[in-house]
Symmetry: C2
Subunit: 418 residues, 2 copies
């Protein structure tokens, strides 16, 4: 079996471990997650790696550095939860998440764990001047607790005590879920890595159509683009669709519709701007009643925070230009997160034979959480039809082969500061 086929096979075996038979669905610390831990632990142990689950439920395997380095104070069996404190050796972190959205595909997240494992096998026992740590983040999608990135937040120490009290639909808290899984209590704000972890590389499917449209297998991510989330309610006046002449109407849906059309056409001069109205609710939403109020979502993204905020202000102004009062609520946002330029340059060089496309990521990833704390780079694989979060999500063996070759070159050209 080629290395690429090994990756596909491992992804397929993980996909079979699901909370809901007939679908690919794995939520934070579910029984299926435990089964994936067993599978990955066996895989990694067979490669001579030392495997454990950290106190946030992240599965972590260490492939030790060259003997002369890894013997330096590396006492894995006795180290405390302040893990890595004994690591005098520089460590490269590779990985992604193993949770999924409901009825997902086999590659989102999982591919970024399977590729590093096969990569270690391709090393055929060869050691590097650094440890390689593979991490399978316990949670990224935010399904169980309506709160994403639990695994990577815990890793870098940004999970708070309040976050741990968030509950799922059964009323079970994150803290309780960790305890139920048999884990040690998690100390919020205490990172689960040390400064010896000098770099993080995440491999992920693009989840969009850009690489496919360029006929390129790989992308190097320059930044995770920032996002503004708003909610806008247009206030009209509900009235009878048969007795109210057009000129007397205060039709909230007509105003909202003009705004939605403007949102779609607004970015036309800026190819990096994304503006989306994804949800709409009309009241009373009856065929024979003029809508009295309409609430829409607004999602604006741009690699440049300044350009994004400028677009948000312009769209707010447009919303208010349709003759009806509008209530605008800020639903939070996220600044653009740049990847590490030096590390990304190294990755680009390693991918050079495949003419990698340098691109922003429109979706959030664990890399976005990790990047402010650990130099981070991210490699995208072409996603056929841009289809993701879907059972038909796919990735080709050829593209996996290019990713494996790129990562192997990347490993071999890394020069960690000892």
């Amino acid at each position: 079996m080629t290395p690429a086929d090994q990756v596909l096979s491992l992804c397929a075996r993980i996909a079979a471990l699901t909370d809901i038979p007939g679908t690919i669905t794995r939520t934070f610390l579910s029984p299926a997650t435990r089964a994936v831990h067993s599978l990955l632990t066996a895989e990694m142990q067979s490669l001579g790696m030392t495997v454990r689950t950290d106190s946030a439920g992240n599965l972590r395997g260490i492939y030790p550095a060259q003997d002369d380095l890894s013997s330096r104070g590396n006492n894995l069996s006795s180290r405390s939860e302040a893990e890595g404190s004994a690591f005098a050796v520089p460590t490269l972190l590779l990985g992604s998440h193993i949770d999924t959205v409901p009825d997902s595909g086999p590659y989102d997240g999982v591919l970024g764990v399977a590729i590093p494992i096969v990569l270690i096998r391709m090393l055929a026992g060869k050691k590097l001047p650094c440890n390689i740590e593979i991490i399978a983040f316990s949670e990224e999608e935010g399904v169980r607790f309506k709160f994403p990135f639990i695994g990577s937040r815990a890793l870098v120490g940004t999970l708070t005590r309040a976050d741990l009290t968030r509950t799922d639909y059964l009323g079970i808290s994150i803290a309780q879920a960790l305890e139920d899984f048999g884990l040690n209590p998690l100390s919020p704000s205490a990172p689960l890595v040390t400064s010896r972890t000098f770099a993080y590389l995440e491999v992920h499917i693009e989840q969009g159509p850009v690489l496919e449209s360029l006929a390129l297998p790989l992308g190097v991510v320059t930044s995770i683009i920032g996002q503004s989330r708003l909610s806008l309610t247009f206030h009209g006046e509900a009235n009878h669709a048969g007795t109210t002449p057009m000129s007397f109407r205060k039709d909230a849906l007509a105003a909202a519709a003009r705004f939605i059309a403007e949102v779609q056409s607004y970015p036309q001069d800026d190819p990096h701007l994304l503006a989306t109205v994804g949800s709409i609710t009309a009241f009373p939403n009856a065929a024979n009643v003029i809508p009295g109020a309409v609430t829409v979502s607004l999602d604006v993204r741009h690699p440049s925070d300044a350009a994004r905020l400028e677009a948000v202000e312009a769209l707010k102004t447009l919303a208010q230009s349709h003759g009806l009062p509008v209530t605008i609520t800020d639903r939070g946002g996220q600044s653009s997160v740049p990847m590490d330029p030096a590390l990304s340059a190294l990755l680009t060089t390693a991918a050079a034979p495949y003419a990698p496309h340098c691109m922003a990521s429109g979706a959030g990833h664990d890399a976005m959480i990790v990047a402010p704390y650990i130099p981070t780079a991210m490699l995208f694989l072409r996603t056929p039809r841009g289809l993701s979060h879907h059972p038909q999500e796919s990735v080709s063996a050829e593209d996996i082969q290019t990713a494996l070759a790129t990562c192997l070159r990347f490993l071999n050209t890394l020069h960690p500061t000892p």
Copy 2:
């Protein structure tokens, strides 16, 4: 108490009889309906009227014609369910409905029963050359069985055997509900009036803002305008709002929004055309997903059927001009129903001191069901703020006074064919 105050008082006493305390809610043959029957029966009997409930649950009171006419074979006590067959005397029908939408106001329907009762009192025993029959239709709003006009359909014989098997949310059929109320079995397609009923007059609040905007108390209805009901589904492609560049999108909501804006602006050259999108549903309706499908309702009304159908075709074409496939479903409709010109002219003359506005009705009424079978006229009263189907629905004592005076003149100028 002035006659207008008597009307307001009667409406208030009826409003107090409700299925849901704290609201005005009366559905077909509910306990509150029985209480209204008792109240109205006592009122009408005190005016020397003979009162009964027909087999469709309509409450009907007869104020007999002049003695020389009403004695002609008028044996009310022994007549069969083929009611009116014994009426050799011409009969004028006056009335409206006493059911309501949930949480309604005190006047929609009820006013058209209260005004005729006070009108009979104003006659002070004076008899006319025709019987006056007051009818309180049992059902017009369509709430209980999602099927409107049960009372007036039964009156004119257009209720079918299949209609009687329609069930409410408890599985009770219309036939069963009639039987549970203690009524005789209803023979579908057998009208509950004879040809001696030569005219029907319905008094109703306008439920719109037109009379108020013209500063006029009364309107004479020329027709109930026709209506087309459609459902349109725009088919796009659901995709990630962060990873899908604008130029790659097939945004079903953006297409639907452009169409909704067009629907609102389309009637601008024709003040009689009404076009409304009242309901909208987007899938998956998530803030961070480009909508993959959007379904909207379309309601088009016009006094001219030809103009309405032309507008529907034009709007269908516009829907298909936004680059996405559209599925268009016909949800039924209703042709325009003209009121009787001669009877309406008589009503207009009777209302002449108040400069009545001749206008189409954009809402359906029992008059629409009755008109194809019995010459029908309809009088509208100004509705403050156009507010109807609402607890704050109102009507002024002054306007009621003009309606009473108009109806009195109308009665006194009627010349029924003997």
